[in-house]
């Protein structure tokens, strides 16, 4: 079971790098939602015996991250008629290298952390750290608002992965609340993106800093 889990987390870490290397907005959205689905199935693997609440949260996560959020983002993209090419501040090669370095460092750091013995062998903590770092790199390194939203969502994936450590301790209501917040957040961002596009004729967030009274 731990092996399967590690394989899934390894895949998610691989998707991090794919997200950093993808040069088009639709593929970035696809990678982000694939990672969300991957992480959504993990609680089922983690739980020793079948629990309908865990299954419900897993289902909601898969549904939300795999279907609803990507659809909202694509809709916002279509409505604002954005070009698909990303123009990164940090180039693809450099962000890939940064992501790889973050992954290696997180694996190394996770060894030094005083973890519970049952978590020592799993990739949960390194995966969470690496995914969060990837989210940060995307947030900092991309100028398009939707790409930054994808970075934010990947960052949230990392936090979710961290939350899986405590799956037996946190009430599932918290998980469900986070998911709801996320969906609403993306919904709102979809509207904001449209507004930015109308006001500035571009989604380049650098133009927002030039805002004057």
């Amino acid at each position: 079971m731990s092996l399967n889990l590690n394989l899934l987390i390894g895949l998610a870490m691989g998707l991090n790098l794919v997200a950093l290397g993808s040069s088009r907005l639709p593929s970035l959205i696809r990678v982000m939602s694939a990672q969300g689905v991957l992480l959504g199935t993990m609680p089922l693997l983690l739980a020793a015996d079948f629990d309908w609440r865990v299954a419900a949260v897993a289902l909601a996560t898969v549904f939300g991250k795999g279907l609803v959020i990507p659809r909202l983002l694509r809709r916002a993209m279509r409505a604002a008629s954005i070009e698909r090419e990303l123009e990164p501040i940090i180039g693809f090669e450099v962000s890939l290298l940064l992501g790889a370095a973050a992954t290696i460092v997180s694996v190394a750091v996770a060894r030094l952390l005083p973890l519970m013995p049952e978590h020592a062998d799993s990739l949960l903590v390194p995966g969470a750290l690496a995914t969060a770092a990837t989210g940060f790199i995307l947030l900092v390194g991309r100028v398009k608002a939707i790409a930054q939203v994808c970075g934010y969502l990947i960052l949230e994936n990392g936090i979710y992965l961290f939350g899986l450590l405590l799956i037996h301790a946190t009430p599932l209501l918290v998980e469900a609340g986070v998911l709801l917040d996320l969906t609403v957040g993306v919904f709102v961002i979809g509207i904001i993106v449209d507004r930015i596009q109308r006001a500035f004729d571009s989604l380049d967030t650098r133009k927002l800093t030039a805002l004057r009274e």
Partner: protein, 302 residues
């Protein structure tokens, strides 16, 4: 394989088998495209023909123009002799021979680039510059792959370190080494071996001014390098060395054939990438190998 005669025989085996591979690739490409294609033994005929021709040499070129291809060929053959050829073993094996292999491959590349710049042609200088630029990343990936193999086997000799671990590390290594194979042997999507448009060539442009026997040596050296990389790829992924000799030879041959057919299929289905996208792809190969190293290291500690 030990003994003087055995080593010579092994060298002859490498030399004779190598020109088969480009023929198979061309056959696969022809088959995918629905053509009949050149015979599988075409490169042997070409080599024979080129060997009988005279050499045209520029007045500007120093003896390095002839020496370059020769040095490159000897270096690649030397590197090949260090790689175990299935049940036949290696020509020479000692602790740390993997380093010698890496350096011999680098020497071969240096000699090719050197010979390319001898005539002072701008195009060939450009080709040499491209080759060496891409080699920076390809070599790093190869070094990372060798490090991963060495970490997971705890050995520094090619004879004992080519022990596949299976699982994620093997998949990562296979992906990384296959991409390195494509880059090192100038196949699509890094370079198009068929193109003769100067602006897009890498390897082909470096050998434009060579003719006759030196060109034959260059072509043969390229096929030898292709065989070396495919043997290396197969042996680091499949458990070739742990089987009985006949099964091992069959597995190695099948693996190399599968790799070569894979190269042909990639070549038929993909177009050459734009130059600015090549570093990203090579970086991906490097990352595959680095993560294989990471997995090997993790497995070793845990």
């Amino acid at each position: 394989m030990s003994g003087f005669v055995g080593r010579i025989a092994l060298g002859v085996l490498w030399v004779l088998l190598a020109p088969l591979l480009p023929g198979i690739i061309n056959r696969v490409k022809a088959w995918v495209a629905g053509r009949r294609g050149p015979p599988v033994l075409q490169l042997y005929y070409d080599l024979h023909r080129l060997w009988q021709k005279g050499v045209v040499q520029s007045h500007l070129a120093s003896p390095g123009f002839i020496a370059g291809p020769a040095v490159a060929w000897v270096a690649v053959l030397g590197a090949a002799l260090l790689v175990p050829l299935g049940p036949a073993g290696t020509g020479l094996s000692f602790r740390g021979d993997v380093l010698l292999m890496l350096y011999l491959l680098a020497l071969g590349r240096f000699a090719t680039a050197w010979a390319a710049m001898e005539t002072g042609s701008a195009f060939e200088g450009m080709g040499a510059a491209r080759e060496v630029t891409f080699a920076v990343l390809a070599e790093a990936a190869l070094v990372a792959a060798m490090l991963a193999l060495s970490v997971q086997s705890g050995s520094l000799s090619l004879l004992t370190m080519l022990v596949p671990s299976g699982g994620a590390a093997a998949v990562l290594l296979a992906a990384g080494l296959f991409t390195v194979l494509l880059a090192e042997n100038c196949r699509v999507p890094f370079d198009d071996p068929n193109t003769h448009l100067e602006l897009t060539m890498i390897h082909e442009v470096m050998v434009l001014d060579h003719s006759g026997p030196p060109l034959a040596v260059i072509l043969h050296g390229a096929s030898l390098k292709l065989l070396l990389f495919s043997v290396l790829l197969v042996e680091s992924v499949l458990p070739v060395r742990s089987l009985a000799p006949p099964a091992s030879a069959a597995l190695l041959a099948g693996g190399v054939l599968a790799t070569i057919v894979g190269v042909g299929v990639v070549e038929s289905l993909l177009a050459r990438f734009a130059f600015r996208r090549v570093p990203l792809l090579l970086l991906t190969a490097l990352l595959f190998c680095v993560f294989a190293l990471l997995v090997a290291w993790q497995g070793g500690v845990a």
